[in-house]
Point group: C2
Chain length 128, copies 2
């Protein structure tokens, strides 16, 4: 899940949040970082579908938006760590609530999503 940039006019709080959370993997990244320092390679293992390039791009944006900080250790092999800023941490409860809501309504959500996507499991559909 991710939130995407949209509004030309940034009036309400909802718009502003959209700006900083925009990006396909932002929310997941924040979630995985939320308890401790994380290295890029760990992140990639946790989120296997994202490529390194995109991961870096989105981390950079999160950094620019002051939600995470990046620490570079001048060692060999290179070591980099990300962690949430205090500001970033204030976002975690929200992400958690959203995740909880999703968990609570998991069955219904799966049902309506499947219904809509038309990705019915053809395996289960009788030919009749």
């Amino acid at each position: 899940m991710y939130i995407k940039k949209t509004t030309p006019t940034l009036n309400c709080g909802l718009d502003l949040v959209g700006e900083v959370l925009y990006g396909k993997w932002k929310i997941r990244i924040l979630w995985f970082i939320h308890n401790g320092n994380v290295r890029p390679s760990e992140l990639q293992r946790k989120i296997p579908d994202v490529t390194r390039r995109v991961l870096n791009v989105q981390l950079k944006e999160l950094e620019d938006h002051e939600l995470v900080t990046k620490t570079i250790y001048p060692v060999l092999p290179p070591k980099v760590e990300y962690r949430l800023t205090e500001f970033g941490k204030t976002l975690i409860p929200l992400i958690q609530s959203i995740g909880l809501w999703g968990d609570e309504h998991q069955e219904r959500l799966r049902r309506v999503i499947l219904k809509t996507n038309g990705k019915l499991d053809l395996d289960d559909v009788p030919v009749s």
Copy 2:
């Protein structure tokens, strides 16, 4: 602000929420509908930047996902009303929390967003 479809594998609640909230205007639509019945023309006045086509597409998806219901009155001129389902209503507190967080951190958010976008309001910048 909007949440976009993403995850091929729908494992956690976060992913599921992403599926149903995916769409550039979904969250705003839900927000505007959240206290009462709303007609398409009203929605468009509230969200002037969206086109009728896209509005219809997203409303249809919200309907398919059982977050809103559509009522068609067989009268002339045509009259249509949308309202939240009970399921849809359970989502409102989350949207509200996000909006509140955005409002609370409004100034900081504007700052970092402007900094990043580089879209400084040239009007307000003294020539000096």
